[in-house]
């Protein structure tokens, strides 16, 4: 993705001297550590769900989908780092056709991961919404088969969009589509969760529970949405500025922080299991059982 979005990392460093906002470089070890942590965590989530029969429910299908997309994003970073290493060591030609193709494949993997994340989070919100507001028909509306079919359609769409976006990456409509998906999905998820929250609040008022429960609900919602916004919005803004004002000094200074924005996306892959998957007590117990079983053997 770098060759699309970071125009200022010249190979001989003179681009750095040219601007007063030198690109901020993070050490490769940091990226590597965060990516490996992301891959391992999400792999654990997948294993815990796949190995337990009582976790074969639609809601866990969507959590698995989120884990897969996070894993793809972290894998992308690892593979990219390895590839850059090969190139710096001279094993790969700098601008060969093979290298360009591999770069394109990596980029489409990244876009696939991003779109997969967005759609998985929306699917989780929709599933929770149906659970709350159509609870009596939930088991008829949302079955495992329908969940898997939905995920298949969504991921095919994401794969096609990923390839298309990478092929047409420099056209303005592509960038606009890419950057519009993010706030649209955010608004959608915000509406769903706010409606659910309002219901919880109204029932809490009827039963006169402690206001503390509602405060916890507000904190939870804020964490869910806040983490998503803070991890993805910097990168989305980067893509926007890259397309529309690459020569503006203010935009240049923002874009010099590209690696930090990229790291935030990796952090999102690391944080997501904690705020989605491991919040479920069943999955926590399945995970503990897995760990103790492996220790016992």
């Amino acid at each position: 993705m770098k060759h699309i979005v970071s125009p200022y990392e010249g190979s001989n460093g003179s681009a750095r001297n040219r601007s007063d906002c030198p690109p901020v470089d993070l050490p490769g070890e940091v990226f590597f550590a965060i990516s490996v942590a992301g891959v391992l965590e999400n792999l654990l989530v997948l294993l815990a769900v796949l190995k337990n029969r009582n976790l074969q429910a639609p809601m866990f299908c969507f959590i698995c989908s989120l884990a897969v997309s996070d894993m793809l994003g972290s894998l992308y970073k690892i593979l990219e780092g390895v590839f850059i290493l090969f190139r710096n060591m001279g094993y790969v030609k700098p601008r060969g056709r093979f290298e360009t193709t591999v770069d394109d494949v990596f980029d489409s993997m990244f876009v696939l991961s991003l779109l997969g994340s967005i759609f998985s989070l929306s699917a989780i919100a929709v599933d929770r919404y149906i659970t709350i507001f159509h609870a009596l028909q939930y088991h008829r509306i949302v079955t495992v088969r329908r969940a898997v079919a939905t995920l298949a359609v969504v991921w095919s769409f994401c794969a096609a969009s990923g390839v298309a976006m990478v092929l047409f990456s420099h056209r303005v409509p592509t960038v606009l589509t890419f950057t519009l998906l993010f706030p649209l999905m955010l608004a959608f998820v915000l509406c769903l969760y706010t409606h659910m929250f309002l219901l919880a609040r109204s029932h809490a008022r009827k039963i006169a529970t402690l206001p503390r429960a509602n405060l916890k609900g507000a904190i939870t919602l804020t964490i869910l949405l806040g983490v998503f916004i803070c991890c993805w919005a910097p990168f989305v803004l980067h893509v926007l500025l890259m397309t529309f004002c690459p020569n503006n000094p203010y935009c240049v200074c923002y874009m010099s922080l590209f690696q930090i924005n990229g790291m935030l996306i990796m952090c999102n892959a690391v944080i997501d299991p904690f705020i989605y998957a491991f919040r479920s007590p069943e999955l926590r117990d399945a995970f503990k059982r897995m760990v103790f079983l492996s220790r016992g053997q």
Partner: protein, 206 residues
């Protein structure tokens, strides 16, 4: 890729001398950017963006907490009638989905304290637990009797019914030692009540 890419006319040798991890590409070299005569601070977009983001998140949090204190009164009337209807229809469905697999439900409840999830799991295991149907009937009878016994004012009945296996409204145990079960975190327990239903139903049975 696209022909719009501006290829550098500088040397394209990857500089391995810089560091072992040179995250550098050589595709782009856009023309020199002048930093003369900037009116604002050069990182103003960065600062403005992050401050705006923080303000937005805090604003969202305060809106949510304010919603817990105030609220739309008209919404309550519509919702309560809707929920009453739902609860009545649920009560009529008592025999079928209540607890086909009582043992499983108990396990789930002890683990999760999320009655809602228990309900959904029960429904999903309906086919497997035909043998438990008798206990199911006993449970539902007991709960129904208790509901009828306690029926006084509609509001009380509402509350009493809500203590049972109402799928929409999940119970929390605020006096529990686990304490801090979360709203809207697990799938999707909105925790409202004081006692989990199956505990009260177990008390009824035993």
């Amino acid at each position: 890729m696209s022909a719009q890419r501006l290829i550098s006319n500088r040397t394209s040798q990857p500089s391995a001398a810089n560091s072992d991890y040179t995250w550098e590409y050589e595709y782009y070299e856009i023309g020199p950017v002048s930093f003369e005569g900037l009116k604002a601070h050069k990182y103003s977009i960065v600062i403005g963006f992050w401050v705006g983001l923080a303000v937005f998140v805090i604003f969202m949090f305060f809106v949510l907490t304010l919603l817990t204190k105030t609220g739309a009164p008209h919404q309550d009337n519509a919702e309560s009638s809707e929920k009453r209807f739902r609860m009545n229809s649920f009560v009529s469905d008592f025999g079928k989905p209540l607890e086909p697999d009582k043992v499983f439900c108990r396990q789930i409840n002890e683990e999760s304290r999320s009655l809602f999830h228990c309900y959904i799991s029960e429904v999903e295991h309906l086919d497997r637990a035909k043998a438990c149907h008798q206990t199911t009937a006993v449970d539902s009878d007991v709960q129904l009797q208790e509901a009828i016994r306690s029926s006084g004012q509609p509001e009380e009945e509402l509350n009493r019914l809500m203590k049972f296996d109402i799928p929409n409204f999940v119970n929390t145990d605020q006096s529990s030692s686990f304490g801090e079960d979360d709203l809207l975190i697990s799938e999707p327990p909105i925790l409202l009540e004081n006692k989990p239903v199956s505990q009260s139903s177990r008390k009824d049975l035993g």
